[in-house]
């Protein structure tokens, strides 16, 4: 533990920009606190270490078994973790509603396998009002597809926040085919619109990162930056991501670069504790780029596989805040080659047309590689991601379907589109 800390410190002190960071005791505490995790996962099986991306997506039973001991949050350790943070019990207390603290990866994987699509679909259809349900009323008793049907379909698409422009284009396309008698019944119409949506969602290849499999295994640490406007679910998503990536057998480190919002790093610290992942943080008001710098040094020193950076929520029309984000990116790239390797823009499913502008602006400041669509467990459909995919070709990576640690699923265009219709 001590040795590890010294190594980091030495390295840090060689970096001029980091003087203030070294002084921060919270950094030391974070590293110390994380050291117990370090000790146990310091010598992973070589093949376990090598297969980060493979495991992240193509996991096998055996790998699940291997990964299991790393995910742990036994009572005792939790306590000592918090003690070392010098926090009181009450702050450390896990909220009563969080039942998932000690989920094992096997249980998680099982649950996931069993229910992934089901749960997602269930959450999308929560109100039993999907795109088609109202349409069915209109269709009822009709033999031909008329203007009324198309109008309703357009409304249904707009109602899912897909956007006027996109909706109109899709309907226009359908109208033409109906006129040319290429589409004659409702099933065909449905199929056509579905395909249209699927084309848009699938046509993001070559842009962004649609899967970590493509990323070189040499990259270490793999730096992920999570960005978005206020309150969309960035921090929660990081908790979920950390849990997920760690369960795949990776050494994960989290960086609390939201030094602005009240209690932001406390919030992240609880997620770090829940997932048993070490956290690098600084006191409120510190330049977030300095925290990023700090965490990169720590990640390198402890040979972490993945570093996830939480950033403060910011409105995309605030130039200074976007510049701050850009600076964080720059610092990351300076410390680790081609970092950040992945930048996930978190979009709340309730977001309307402004989501597109958010994506445009964030893309200007940082190389957004993917979208995380959160809060799909509500009644909102999050259709703006279709418009984002259409205009900016950014792939949607994950979907948030709740507030628990395992409420994050990989995005599947088919599932998404189907869940809108069926």
């Amino acid at each position: 533990m001590g040795l590890f800390w010294k190594r980091t410190k030495k390295q840090e002190s060689e970096q001029p920009a980091n003087e203030q960071a070294v002084e921060q005791t919270s950094t030391e505490q974070a590293l110390e606190a994380s050291a117990s995790v370090e000790l146990e996962s310091q010598h992973p099986q070589p093949e376990q270490k090598a297969g980060f991306f493979k495991r992240l997506f193509g996991k096998t039973e055996a790998q699940e078994q291997e990964a299991e001991p790393i995910v742990r949050a036994p009572e005792q350790e939790k306590k000592s973790f918090w003690e070392r943070w010098g926090r009181s019990e009450e702050n450390a207390a896990t909220p009563a509603s969080e039942p998932e603290v000690a989920t094992t990866s096997v249980a998680r994987a099982d649950a996931e396998k069993m229910s992934l699509f089901k749960r997602w679909k269930a959450s999308l259809n929560r109100t039993s009002e999907n795109l088609m349900s109202r349409l069915d009323d209109v269709i009822h008793g009709k033999k031909v597809i008329d203007a009324e049907v198309l109008d309703h379909l357009e409304e249904a698409l707009i109602g899912a926040d897909i956007g006027v422009q996109t909706a109109m284009e899709i309907i226009e396309n359908a109208r033409k085919k109906v006129d040319r008698s290429e589409v004659s019944n409702f099933d065909e119409l449905k199929r056509l619109v579905k395909d249209n949506l699927l084309d848009i969602l699938n046509d993001t290849s070559g842009k962004g990162i649609s899967s970590e499999v493509d990323v070189s295994l040499d990259i270490q640490p793999y730096v992920m930056m999570i960005v978005g406007v206020n309150g969309v679910g960035k921090t929660t998503t990081i908790g979920k991501l950390a849990n997920r990536i760690k369960a795949e057998g990776n050494e994960v480190l989290i960086c609390a670069a939201d030094t602005f919002r009240a209690a932001a790093s406390d919030q992240l610290a609880i997620w770090a504790e829940r997932t048993g992942v070490p956290l690098i943080q600084q006191k409120k008001g510190t330049d977030p780029a300095a925290v990023v710098f700090d965490s990169l040094a720590a990640a390198k020193a402890r040979k972490a596989d993945v570093l996830i950076i939480d950033t403060a929520g910011r409105l995309h029309n605030k130039a200074n805040l976007m510049a701050e984000l850009e600076k964080m990116k720059r610092i990351a790239g300076r410390e680790v080659q081609s970092a950040p390797h992945e930048v996930l823009l978190v979009v709340d499913a309730v977001t309307g047309q402004n989501g597109l502008e958010q994506a445009r602006q964030f893309l200007k400041a940082v190389p957004v590689t993917g979208i995380v669509l959160t809060k799909l467990d509500g009644t909102a459909k999050g259709g703006i991601v279709v418009a984002i995919a259409k205009e900016l070709r950014i792939p949607i990576r994950y979907v948030g379907i709740g507030e628990r640690m395992d409420d994050l699923v990989e995005f599947s265009p088919e599932d998404y589109v189907n869940s809108l219709f069926d």
Partner: protein, 473 residues
Amino acid sequence: MFDSLSDKLKKVLKNLRGGQDKLTPEHIDIAMKEIRMALLEADVNFKVVKQFVDTVKEKAVGQEVLEALSPEQQVVKIVRDELVEILGGSSSRLVFLPRNPNVVMIVGLQGSGKTTTTGKLAKFLSKNQGRHPLLVSVDVYRPAARNQLSVIAREIGEPVFEAAELNDPLEICRSAFKHAQQTGYDTLLIDTAGRLHIDDQLMEELQAIKAEMNPVETLFIADAMTGQDAVKSASEFHNRIGVTGVILTKMDGDARGGAALSVKMVTGQPIKFVGVGEKYDALEQFYPDRVAQRILGMGDVLTLIEKVQQEVDEEEAMALQQKMMEDKFTLEDYRAQLKQMEKLGSVDKLLKMLPEGMMRSLMGFVPKISDEQAGMMQRKLKQTEAIINSMTFKERNNHHIIDASRRRRIAKGSGTTIRDVNDLLEEYIQMRRVMREMMRGGLLGGFGGKLLSSVMGRKSNRPNFTKKKKKKR
């Protein structure tokens, strides 16, 4: 960015027979299509749009076209007035009862901004309504949520009830209430956990708190960026909990804010405040006309005005205004104004705040603000400056003397073409005309005059909410 509603309407109505003095059903039908689009693009829920359009249609058919207005201006006016009427309502002031404490409950979806708003509200009430608030968070679910409110309370210097040993929302409420009663806090602000409107268990929790706390106000916090779903969440919260007011957050963003209309329509409850920043004093009174214009894509003129007021040198601006009034606005002044604009920041940001119709009058064309075009605008401004720079002092102060040979010289000197110079002069002349009209309060009515006087630095006519409230108390 899209064409502003009035520009679109102009386009579509132009093709109709001219010289009419009434809005015909034909006019209306075409106009309503555009209005529908504008509202949908602004995130107004499609059902609400339908209802709204029907209402406006009824009101519009057969209306006399006012002399000063073209048909499209007339339609925009009807739409705007209707929007303002629906959005408007009773004042932002929270009305308290003579009992201690008055409870105010803050409810809403996850991430809508409840906790920050609770802090802002406490600050506002203590500053402007002379209240003594006590804050309490009953968000026992989200990590560090209660801590967040404590930190905020410390920052605004208001007391917070912590009771860390309690973990049940209702119990926390009870002890906070008791504590407020005993200590003499007259207002208890309860920050509740964000929840989905379809989460039965958590909605029941709110019902229980409401039943026992009997709040004077139950405020629903709505994110201005919300899309079509606003109708569902707001109506569900209202049906189950009984909302008494709405606070619209994140209005400092650039969302058109159509959710305001949706929420207002389904709850019928007044929008009391808007959140306009992350700082704790970034809470403002709700102005229906501002939001109406924003929803219609007419830009947030008043935001711009405020910005201009902060940045523009008052004296210089007064002088400019004087000149406009006297119709003595010279090219020299024009250049000075461009310089002022540069002070305000990048063109595209500025443009986004301006109503596009006004932009047309001022700049001579309507910028559709893609990146390229913003760049083009910037270049155009630079070019305009260069052209004016190449004029002699005399020319700048009397554009009438700029004849063909002078134009050639100016073009050469500024590295532009004669056409560029012609364009500029034409724009300038048109601008003078528009200004004259505005100063007379003509076409744009009091609004235009107010806008210009504000842009030009005169103190805003807008009532100073803060002070007014204090006096009343």
